[in-house]
Amino acid sequence: MDTDRRSLLKGLAASAALTVIPTEAEARERRTAPKNAVGLLYDTTRCIGCKACVVACKEANGLPPDTTGYGDGLYDAPQALNASTKNIIQLYEEGNEHSYVKKQCMHCIDPGCVGACMLGALQKREYGIVTWDPDLCIGCRYCQMACPFNVPKFEWSKLNPKIVKCELCNHRLAEGKEPACSEVCPRKAVIFGEYHELLAEAHRRLAEHPDLYVPKVYGEHDLGGTQVLYLSHVPFEKLGFRFGTDQPVPETQQTVTHAVYKGFAAPLALYAVLGAVMFRNRKREGSEDAEPPEDNN
C-alpha cells in the first residue's frame, strides 16, 4: 500500500466519520412563538364537561359522527381524538379527585410533526397554527410517530385517507371569527387569544388563586412550548400529559442531522474520495487478484 493510497483511505475514513458521527455541533437554537401567534388557554377548574365544544368543533369542521363508543350507534359519542374528532373532552377520575381535560392539537412552537413531514404538508403557517396540506401528503404517518401528544389522526378506513387534526379553525379565523370550541364554551373554560396575552392571563390566574392550581402553566416550556396552554387543579401527568421535558421533540435529531449534512459537504467529500479510491483501484486491477490466497491469513 503506497502512501498515496493510504492518504486517500485516511480521507475516506475522515469523511465517512463526518457523515455519521454527531460532532460537537452548535446546539440547535430553541425557538419562540411567532410574533402574531394565537392559541388557546384551557382551565380545568372552569370546565364542567358539557362537551359543547366537541359538538361545535364537529359542526365547524364538517366532521362525521363517531357512534362506535357508546349507545348502540345512537349517539355521536367519541371516546378520544380520532379521524372524525379533532377536539375532545375527557374525564380523569381517581378516588375523590376528578377533572375534565380538553384535548386537541397543541400547536407546538417547535413541532415534531413539522420536523418529520417530508414535503412540508404539515407546517406552522399563519399565526403559528400547524395545518395540513393534502397535496403534499403521501400518507406516510411519520407525523404520528413524531407527535408526543398523539394528535394527528389517520383515516384508516378510507381508501384516500387524510390526516385529521385541529387547525385551530383557521378557516373561521379567516372570516374574523374565533375557533368554534372557545366560542361556544359556556364557562369560558377555554379561551382563544393572542399567545402572549394568554400566557400572561394564565400567570395572572396562578398568582391570584395559588390555592386552586398546580403551580405550572403546561405548555409554557414543555416540549419546547405549545401555543395551547393549560391550567389544572390536578397534576398534569394525570390528565395524560406524559412528558414533562422542556426539550423540543426535533432538537436531538436535527442537531445530529445538521451536524452531518451541513451544506451537504460531508457526503460530497465522501463521494469524491470514494470515487478517487475506486478509480485508482480499478487502474491497478489484476495486481492484487493475482496474489495467492495463502497471503490472507
Binding site: D135, I138, V256, G275, N281, E288
Partner: protein
C-alpha cells in the same frame, strides 16, 4: 485467476420452487386486497402504532439484511480485496432484490401512494430537516444504483445471445456502463452510508416516546455499524444457503474471513452501545427486570455469540453458518426493537401484526427468493465452480452438518 460467474442452469419449476411461488402469490393477492379495502381493514395499525411490521421489518430490518452489496463493495472496491470478487454479484443481487422489496413495502404501507412521485420531484417543497425525506430519496436512488451495478450480469448474457435487438442493445450499452461504473459504485457506497445512518436519526425524532435504552444521538452510527456487520453476515448466510441448495462447494475460507469482520463490527457495536448508555447515565435501565432489558441483552448476546466461533481454528461450515445466523438475528432484533418494541405511544395502544400483514411480508420474502433463484439459474451471477476444490474445506464434516440440519 478468478473463475468467471456463470448461470447455474437446471430446472426452475421444481417442487420447492412451486411452494415459494404459492406463498408469493398469496402475498400479492393480499396486497391487492389491501389496496381494495384500505389499511384499516387489512392491518393492525392504529393511530398509536402507525408503523408496524412492514416498516420495522420489511424496510428497517430488510434493507440491513440487504446490505451485503454495500458491505462487499467496500471490501472489494474500496479496500481492493479482489479475491472476494466472486461474492459480489450474488450479494448485489440480494441487495437489489431486498431494496426493491423494501421500496414496494413502502408503497403498500403509505396511505396515499399515488402522490409518492411528488417526493423526488417537488424539490422546492423538500423539508431538509426531515430524516425520512433523506431516507426516501436515498433508497429510491440506491435501488436504481443496485440494478445498474448488477446490469453487467444481464448484459453479458444478452450480448452473447446472437444478433437480436436485445443482443445489439446490450453490446451498445455495455461500454457505457463499464466506463461510468466507478462513479456508480461510489454512489453504491455513499448512498447506503447516508440512508442507513439516517434510519437511525429518523427514529430519534420520536423523542420521548422511544425507550432510553435505544434512544440515543448515536443511533445513526449504531445503525450504520449494524447494517455493515449484518451485510457481511448476510453474505455468509446467503452463500451457505445457495451453495447448499444448488449442491455447490462452500467458499468456506472467504466466508470465515467475512464473518470475522462482521463479528468485530458487532463487538464494536456492543461496546459503543454500552459506553453510550453509561455516558448518558442510563445503565440502570439495562439492569431492570422488564422486557426492555431482556431484549436489550438478547440483542447484545446474539451479536457477540458468534465471536468465539468466528475465530475458531477450523473453518467449520456449520459453525460458520450458525455464527452468521446469530449475528444477523441480533442485528435484526436490534433494528426491529428500535422501531417497534422501544416505541411506546402511551397507555391503551397495542400492536401485533395482523395475519394479512404477516403473510404480505412472507409473500414478499418468497417473491424475493423466487426471483433470486430464477436469475441465478439464467444469468451469470454465482461464481463458477473452481476447477479443484479448495483443500481446506472438510467436505465430510460439511456433509455431516448438512444432513443433520
Amino acid at each position: 485467476m478468478q473463475p468467471q460467474a456463470q448461470p447455474i442452469g437446471g430446472t426452475l419449476l421444481n417442487r420447492p420452487y412451486k411452494i415459494i411461488l404459492a406463498l408469493a402469490t398469496l402475498g400479492i393477492a393480499l396486497i391487492v386486497w389491501r389496496f381494495a379495502a384500505g389499511l384499516g381493514a387489512t392491518t393492525a395499525l392504529s393511530d398509536g402504532y402507525p408503523w408496524g411490521l412492514w416498516i420495522a421489518f420489511d424496510v428497517v430490518t430488510g434493507t440491513a439484511l440487504a446490505c451485503g452489496g454495500y458491505a462487499m463493495a467496500i471490501l472489494v472496491y474500496v479496500f481492493n480485496k479482489g479475491r472476494y470478487h466472486p461474492l459480489v454479484r450474488p450479494a448485489v443481487l440480494t441487495s437489489a432484490l431486498g431494496y426493491s422489496i423494501a421500496g414496494l413495502s413502502v408503497v403498500i404501507d403509505v396511505g396515499r401512494p399515488w402522490y409518492i412521485w411528488r417526493v423526488p420531484l417537488y424539490f422546492w417543497h423538500w423539508n431538509l430537516n426531515s430524516a425520512l425525506l433523506e431516507v426516501a430519496l436515498c433508497i429510491m436512488s440506491y435501488v436504481f444504483v443496485l440494478w445498474i451495478e448488477l446490469s453487467p450480469a444481464f448484459l453479458e448474457r444478452w450480448s452473447a445471445a446472437g444478433e437480436g435487438w436485445l443482443a445489439r442493445t446490450a453490446r451498445k450499452i455495455s461500454p457505457w456502463i463499464d466506463k461510468s461504473l466507478v462513479w456508480i459504485l461510489a454512489l453504491g457506497v455513499l448512498l447506503p452510508t447516508m440512508h442507513q445512518s439516517s434510519l437511525g436519526s429518523l427514529i430519534v425524532l420520536t423523542g420521548p416516546k422511544l425507550n432510553l435504552l435505544w434512544n440515543t444521538a448515536f443511533l445513526p452510527l449504531l445503525f450504520l455499524i449494524s447494517c455493515l456487520a449484518m451485510g457481511y453476515a448476510a453474505v455468509v448466510l446467503e452463500s451457505a444457503l445457495s451453495n447448499t441448495a444448488f449442491g455447490r462447494p462452500m467458499e468456506t475460507r472467504l466466508l470465515a474471513k467475512l464473518e470475522q469482520v462482521a463479528a468485530w463490527g458487532m463487538l464494536a457495536f456492543v461496546l459503543l452501545r454500552l459506553a453510550d448508555l453509561a455516558w448518558r447515565g442510563q445503565l440502570a435501565l439495562a439492569l431492570r427486570a422488564d422486557h426492555y432489558a431482556v431484549l436489550f441483552w438478547l440483542e447484545n448476546l446474539l451479536m457477540l455469540s458468534p465471536f468465539w466461533a468466528a475465530f475458531g481454528r477450523r473453518e467449520n461450515p456449520g459453525r460458520l453458518f450458525r455464527g452468521a445466523m446469530f449475528l444477523v438475528l441480533g442485528g435484526a432484533l436490534f433494528r426491529f426493537d428500535t422501531y417497534l418494541v422501544a416505541f411506546n405511544p402511551g397507555p391503551g395502544w397495542h400492536y401485533f401484526p395482523s395475519v394479512q400483514e404477516i403473510f404480505v411480508t412472507l409473500g414478499l420474502i418468497a417473491l424475493e427468493i423466487a426471483i433470486y433463484i430464477a436469475l441465478v439459474r439464467r444469468f451469470p451471477i454465482l461464481g463458477a465452480l473452481p476447477t479443484r476444490p479448495p483443500v481446506e474445506v472438510d467436505h465430510q464434516e460439511e456433509r455431516k452438518w448438512l444432513n443433520a440440519s
